[in-house]
């Protein structure tokens, strides 16, 4: 069985599939109006277009509302334990490089109980796509402060306001040297779809923060980003090689003031100043991406899109390389291994 599986092609002529082929027979049990629906639909819409057989996809999740995701995908899947999805995904991808492994996680799952695994999966450049649904609250346990909840946030567990400084998911991903780092908004379907498509195509560790609304316990947490009328002022779309321009009238931009400090500049639409900050997702240094990750609304627009997309050897290929190298230097001979180097005979 083992050998046969790995011989299966990773891609090839695949019968045309539709969203329906990726939809399981299980009833979706998220609350009506949950931001997760839009993300699920986007993924189910994207995968049939990728030209990879359905049986090659595996969705791995931890615990939380977002982590129910694999049950709704008609692919292989594993709903694992709290925070540990990246560990299972790492073992699965390295043992079975022919598979496309996606991790679905949330702010509590990935950044609190599973923080350690997130860091290491990213720094090892495991070829997995991690989608973090960030709603700044614990939803499944009914409304406690999460690692991304804002300082002072009143929740069931913090009736006097949270006294914990929130964590910045993208800064963690960049510090962990993820090779693909992006952000999208659940309700902005075209740009969400594009980010997911780029994620699917990337070889290496993918980290996508999706700003997602929890309609029951933290409704409106991302109102500025999800409301179409506010979005153009609250967000700046990142585009490789293009200046950072935003606003309904495309008349504002970001440039670096003294040193490495960003500032917003106004200009006449269509006449951006020459010194606007130009996005470079391929920059070898993560410094620019870090600067963008630290920009938030207000007073800055929050960047969305691809922050970083670089190449580095992926873990499973490095592992395969060492095994191939070892096989060159010595054919496996179990008897010789068991015998070792120092033996004696008893007659």
């Amino acid at each position: 069985m083992d050998e046969d599986l790995t011989k299966l092609p990773a891609a090839g002529p695949v019968p045309a599939m539709t969203k329906k082929d990726f939809t399981s027979d299980q009833m979706v049990r998220w609350c009506p109006g949950c931001g997760d629906f839009a993300i699920l639909a986007s993924v189910q819409k994207l995968l049939p277009a990728m030209g990879i057989p359905r049986e090659k996809y595996v969705f791995v999740s931890g615990i939380g509302c977002s982590s129910r995701f694999p049950y709704y995908m008609n692919t292989y899947g594993m709903h694992s334990i709290h925070g540990r999805a990246p560990t299972l995904a790492t073992g699965l991808k390295c043992a079975r490089p022919d598979l496309q492994v996606w991790v679905i996680t949330g702010d509590g799952d990935a950044l609190s109980i599973g923080g350690n695994h997130l860091i290491h999966a990213l720094r090892k450049n495991v070829d997995i796509k991690i989608l973090l649904f960030n709603n700044k609250i614990y939803g499944l346990t009914k409304g406690q402060a999460s690692p991304t909840s804002e300082f002072g946030k009143k929740t069931k567990s913090t009736p006097y306001g949270s006294i914990d400084h929130p964590i910045n998911p993208l800064a963690i991903a960049l510090a962990s040297e993820a090779t693909f780092v992006a952000r999208a908004v659940d309700t902005d379907l075209p740009s969400l779809g594009e980010v997911l498509r780029r994620a699917a195509l990337h070889k290496g560790s993918v980290f996508v923060e999706i700003l997602q609304n929890c309609i029951v316990f933290n409704d409106g947490a991302w109102a500025d980003a999800s409301d179409k009328s506010l979005r153009s002022d609250a967000l700046v779309n990142l585009s490789h090689g293009r200046p950072l321009v935003f606003g309904k009238d495309k008349n504002r931009g970001i440039r670096l003031a003294k040193g490495f400090t960003p500032e917003v500049v106004q200009f006449d639409a269509g006449k951006p100043p020459a010194d606007l900050l130009v996005h470079d997702e391929k920059a070898p240094s993560p410094a620019l991406a870090h600067l963008l990750a630290e920009m938030g609304h207000p007073p800055f627009p929050s960047p969305v899109g691809v922050f970083r997309d670089i190449e580095r050897p992926v873990l499973h290929e490095l592992m395969e390389g060492q095994i191939a190298q070892a096989k060159k230097s010595g054919t496996p001979d179990l008897q010789r291994l068991l015998t070792g180097t120092e033996t004696w005979s008893v007659n």
């Binding site: 594993m78 694992s80 540990r84 299972l88 598979l99 060492q322």
Partner: protein, 630 residues
């Protein structure tokens, strides 16, 4: 078996008398930087090549280099060798080689009365004596009068032997362990060539150290022969050992080799996820060397990631294992539950050490049995196997994998520090004759149900991702029987809890009849498990030699227990369970079979001495067996 030096032939008329003895125990002790473990391992190899049966026990501190000359820094290595069968590393040494006052102080209480004490006189300086609170040198104050004390200026003699070599004093002094080893080779008539060859290979990058160590070894040998310190030397005749080709092997080596073999026997590639922890790390080190067998080793960021990666690889259709010690098992508990719920094959190696918490990292104990049995949330049964000797780690880890694949379940393999680091001669198995095992083929695609059952094993099918038409989701939520969909139905939950237990119980059908050493019924039955096998067997044989009505069994399968165990227990008046814990198997046996078994318990981080078990048996025979499980 006694470890006494019994003169059995008169001295020969040579310059020095040769005395034949049948059993010797030697302990080397010194600073952890003194090369004690290397010295012990070289003596072991020479002894194996001399044809003796043997058993070894390294005893080293948790600190890599505790302050030189202090008690916490003392490292020891004991070897017991004989012309007869050897089952343990020996109770009390006949010879103690002490490289400094700390080594002397920490070990001399174990030396037999009249035993030989070889001490490095040069290390008995005022400073070193003060470090271990000796007011005067014990070599001179008469306090060691019950031993044959042989002070040797090891440092000075080694320096002299290496004169003209242009070595720094520090480098020259590092060779003194080989000088001491050379002395021991003469004293016990061991061949020097294997060590010479080993030195050449080990130090090939520094030719001056090859020469220096060889010179020191030969000088020590010559010194022992010519100096007027030993009146005679000893020879130990070859033991009667089953014919075949042997090597020396530690439990951790045997475990790693067994894992590579299991992968070959099953046709599945091996995945080993692990996080460094004493005393299990050597398994990771060993497996990492064998990538040419397609072995995938993964040093994870923590214990949970180690098992998580293994569960992921198992889901992917590979032969997966994770290895650790007790504290690591505690961290893996939730993930073991996931493997139970998802019914994926997985082997969890637990090389037990002294606990609780960080406990005694380098010392042995058997106190994780109940953790392996019950240490998880919910009703979460996991089969458990335990090897009895270092060499048996090989066969039992293969057995663990076989069970895990056949029954689709995680399986515990309980080794311990004593087995892991202890070594014994190992009859090298014929690889072609090892039993093969393979996962069953995927069922028909039509109406595929991931939680359907094999009638004989109650195992569910193992279908890894990548095969079209079998797409399914696993997870930690309760599964509906058959479909594997999430189910909160009360009746389904009880059904599944009972089903998972019934599946583990089914493993009993594979357990062979339990061999009984001694009478099939009678007064006392000793029931052991794990690394206490050697001491228990030796003690029971000694008692039987004395004509005492004692029998013994040793359990390799601890969950489920052998199906014949209840009947066996019922044939004896008293059941004694020796364990290096406060009575964990004892509790299980008393609860399951309702027999008034008694415990014989020790938790010192040290293995049983044969004499301790003999005393326990004799006490039980007198009706004074007490249940000391608290």
């Amino acid at each position: 078996m006694s470890a006494t030096q019994t003169p059995s032939s008169a001295g020969k008329p040579s310059e020095k008398n040769v005395e034949t003895v049948d059993s010797v125990t030697i302990r080397f002790a010194g600073d952890s930087g003194d090369g004690i473990q290397v010295t012990g391992m070289r003596f072991t190899t020479a002894t194996a090549l001399a044809g003796n049966d043997l058993s070894t026990l390294p005893d080293y501190p948790a600190e890599i280099r505790a302050p030189a000359g202090t008690l916490p820094g003392v490292s020891g290595f004991q070897i017991h060798f004989s012309s007869r069968e050897v089952l343990t590393p020996g109770d009390a040494p006949d010879v103690l080689v002490a490289m400094n006052p700390a080594a002397l102080k920490a070990n001399v209480k174990d030396l037999k009365n009249g035993g030989i004490l070889i001490a490095n006189k040069d290390a008995f300086t005022a400073g070193n004596l003060a470090k271990v609170s000796y007011a005067k040198s014990p070599l001179e104050d008469g306090s060691l009068s019950s031993y044959r004390v042989i002070p040797v200026e090891l440092s000075r003699l080694t320096q002299n032997a290496l004169e003209g070599m242009n070595l720094s004093k520090v480098h020259a002094d590092r060779c003194k362990n080989f000088f001491a080893l050379g002395m021991m080779y003469w004293l016990y008539d061991r061949p020097m060539e294997p060590t010479m060859k080993w030195i050449e290979a080990k130090f090939k990058k520094t030719p001056e150290m090859v020469e220096a160590n060889k010179k020191a070894l030969m000088a020590g040998n010559a010194f022992a022969e010519t100096a007027e310190i030993f009146s005679h030397h000893y020879t130990v005749k070859k033991a009667v050992i089953a014919p075949g080709v042997y090597r020396n092997i530690t439990g951790n080596e045997a475990t790693a080799l067994g894992m590579v073999a299991a992968a070959q026997l099953s046709g599945l590639a091996l995945w080993y996820g692990s996080y460094p922890i004493t005393p299990a790390s050597d398994i990771l080190h060993e497996l990492s060397k064998h990538k040419n067998f397609g072995v995938m080793t993964f040093q994870a960021e923590d214990e949970i990631a180690a098992i998580g990666s293994a569960i992921g690889a198992s889901f992917g259709g590979k032969l997966a294992a994770t290895g650790t010690s007790g504290p690591g098992v505690a961290l893996k508990s939730e993930a073991i539950g996931l493997a139970v719920m998802t019914e994926l094959p997985l082997v969890i190696l637990d090389v037990q050490r002294g606990g609780p918490s960080t406990g005694l990292p380098t010392k042995t104990e058997q106190a994780d049995l109940l953790q392996a049995m019950y240490g998880r949330n919910g009703e979460c049964p996991v089969p458990i196997v335990a090897p009895a000797t270092p060499g048996e780690c090989f066969t039992m880890v293969i057995e663990a994998f076989r069970i895990s694949v056949k029954y689709m379940t995680p399986v515990f393999f309980l080794s311990d520090g004593y087995l892991a680091n202890g070594s014994e001669p190992w009859l090298i198995p014929d690889a072609a004759k090892l039993p093969r095992f393979a996962p069953s083929a995927p069922p028909a695609k039509e109406n595929f149900q991931p939680y359907s059952r094999d009638e004989k094993t109650l195992a569910r099918p193992w279908v890894a991702p990548g095969i079209p038409g079998y797409e399914h989701r696993l997870g930690g939520l309760e599964k509906a029987d058959g479909s594997g969909n999430v189910s909160y139905d009360p009746d389904n939950h009880e059904h599944m809890v009972r089903l998972r237990q019934a599946k583990v119980n089914k493993v009993a059908q594979d357990i062979p009849p339990t061999p009984i050493m001694g009478p099939k019924k009678g007064k006392v039955l000793v029931v052991g498990w794990g690394g206490t096998y050697g001491a228990i067997t030796a003690a029971v044989k000694n008692c039987q030699d004395k004509g005492l009505p004692v029998a013994a069994i040793h359990l390799r399968h601890l969950n489920p227990l052998p199906p014949d165990l209840g009947d066996i227990l019922s044939q004896y008046e008293t059941v004694v369970v020796p364990e290096l814990n406060l009575g964990q198997l004892l509790k299980i046996i008393r609860a399951k079979y309702l027999v008034p078994a008694v415990g014989l318990n020790k938790v010192k981080g040290q293995p049983f001495k044969i004499s301790e078990i003999e005393a326990g048996i004799e006490s039980a025979l007198k009706g004074r067996g007490e249940n000391r499980d608290g």
